[in-house]
């Protein structure tokens, strides 16, 4: 669940940093291996998110001055 809170965008950002860092070759080997592990985890998670994503649609309805959220059904 904790992973879910990281947005796709944040994951991409992180991934970019990791890959850039690894490509620069300036990171000690041991740290590089850890980063690699982290990076592949994020990639897995991104794939999963893209595969499993399902559009969520809701509506804001104002009734008698009160605003409620309702799910949208076509």
């Amino acid at each position: 669940m904790a992973q879910k809170e990281v947005s796709f965008e944040e994951n991409l950002e992180k991934l970019k940093k990791i890959v850039d860092g690894l490509e620069s070759g300036n990171i000690p080997l041991k740290e590089s291996m850890n980063k690699f592990k982290e990076g592949t985890e994020i990639i897995k998670q991104c794939y999963k998110e893209l595969e499993e994503a399902e559009l969520k649609v809701e509506m804001l309805i104002k009734k008698d001055g009160v605003i409620t959220r309702e799910s949208y059904k076509k």
């Binding site: 991934l15 890959v19 070759g25 690699f36 592949t40």
Partner: protein
């Protein structure tokens, strides 16, 4: 005199009437032609004008001159043509229905009626409606509002907010009826199903539309909804149908929107004021949905690309480290470790040699100095002196250095280089 003349005249006109009668008739004539007050005559004129069917409701073409709006909301102007002019009043309640502003020199067609303003005795046209002559009223209102907002800088690029690359929540303001919902949601589903959509349904046509759209924009801007981008959309329609998107209040609401807003109103060829103020204008609702989101296929490619890069990077890193290790292992210290030790041996040998040389040098120096000291010492040895032929004379333990130190018959010892003898003093020579 005048009176007499009058009487004479009357006589001439009515010759059969007596003078006496004619005098009284003249008086009654005067009473018949009663004297009006200014008010009465004005009232009379007003009634005549009001009684004229033609003046009750007519159209009038002319050019507006010097319009002036008063704080009351009423506008006064003169309508002119080449030959004449007439003053006009546009009361506030009628002005509210007119979507453009009156400007000096504007050619118009007015629908109105004539009325008299009694306190001033002026007659003027009470304007019921006013249309631009030669161009539609809506068109003119559009042009005028566009000019106004443009002057106020509402369309400037510097105010355009950047659309987010990866929106988490999209606010969709549109009507639930019509194809817009379907089109937009379909595109989002196909393109970026990661996103959440929050719809604020609103009429997009008719009287309530304007306020409802303004409310929707304001509502969805509230931070609790966490909207990243707004799509304000409507399907195609006539200029009248789309009119609410040309209302100033809608334009201002869009301008004030904290959240970036994409407008997609009507068909590709329709441009509304809302489009000019929006941060991005999409030609259709579907394009708006595309503009608001990244493409999932592109994202998959991007992730693939990252995957390749990270594998390559780690592969390279391992290669580099391995080759570094190989290089290290191929150094002489690891390949022929004894060689290095031998080098140390040599060094030690050379040190030893140098040490010995140093020592022998210092020894010979010392020896030399010892020899010198020795020769000096032997030069001072009394035996060496004796060897040269000198003798030492002693009396008891005492060396005699003077003849006075002895007396006749004293026994003395004479020491030679070789041997010693005992003698007696025979004679002393002083």
């Amino acid at each position: 005199m005048a009176f007499k003349l009058f009487r004479k005249k009357r006589k001439n006109i009515l010759p059969n009437v007596s003078v006496a009668l004619s005098a009284s008739e003249a008086d009654s004539n005067l009473i018949d032609k009663r004297i009006f007050s200014v008010y009465e005559i004005t009232r009379h004129i007003k009634n005549i004008l009001k009684g004229d069917k033609e003046l009750e409701d007519f159209y009038l073409r002319g050019e507006i001159s010097t319009p002036k709006q008063y704080p009351s909301g009423h506008t006064y102007f003169t309508l002119k043509d080449e030959k004449s002019q007439i003053s006009c009043v546009l009361f506030r309640r009628n002005a509210e229905n007119i979507r453009f502003n009156l400007e000096h020199g504007m050619k118009v067609i007015i629908r109105g009626r004539i009325d008299v303003y009694e306190p001033r005795g002026d007659y003027s046209v009470i304007v019921e409606d006013i249309q631009p002559d030669g161009i539609g009223a809506l068109n003119l209102a559009f042009i005028q509002l566009k000019n106004k907002l443009e002057k106020q800088g509402l369309f400037l690029n510097e105010h355009k907010k950047q659309l987010p690359q990866f929106p988490k929540t999209i606010g969709l303001i549109s009507s639930l009826s019509g194809a817009v919902m379907h089109d937009v949601l379909n595109v989002l589903k196909r393109r970026y199903p990661l996103v959440k959509v929050l719809i604020v349904p609103t009429p997009v046509q008719g009287k309530e539309a304007t306020n409802s759209i303004v409310d929707a924009i304001t509502l969805i801007n509230q931070r609790e909804y966490n909207i990243d981008v707004i799509i304000l959309a409507r399907g195609g329609g006539s200029l009248e149908d789309l009119w609410c998107f040309n209302e100033e209040s809608v334009a201002r609401a869009i301008f004030q929107s904290r959240v970036p807003l994409i407008s997609a109103i009507g068909h590709e060829t329709d441009f509304t004021i809302a489009d000019f103020v929006a941060d991005y204008r999409a030609p259709t609702p579907s394009v708006a949905a595309e503009k608001a989101t990244p493409d999932i296929n592109e994202l998959k490619k991007l992730i693939n690309n990252f995957n390749e890069r990270i594998l390559n990077a780690i592969d390279n890193l391992i290669k580099i480290n391995k080759s570094g290790l190989d290089q290290m292992a191929s150094r002489p210290i690891f390949r022929r470790p004894l060689e290095t030790i031998h080098a140390y041996y040599q060094k030690i040998d050379s040190f030893e040699y140098m040490l010995k040389a140093k020592i022998s040098q210092s020894m010979s120096l010392k020896r030399k100095s010892l020899e010198i000291s020795d020769s000096k010492l032997s030069a001072l040895n009394p035996r060496a002196i004796l060897e040269r032929g000198y003798s030492i004379v002693m009396k008891g333990d005492k060396i005699i250095k003077s003849a006075t130190e002895v007396k006749i018959d004293n026994n003395i010892n004479v020491i030679f280089y070789k041997g010693e003898l005992e003698a007696e003093v025979k004679k002393i020579k002083k």
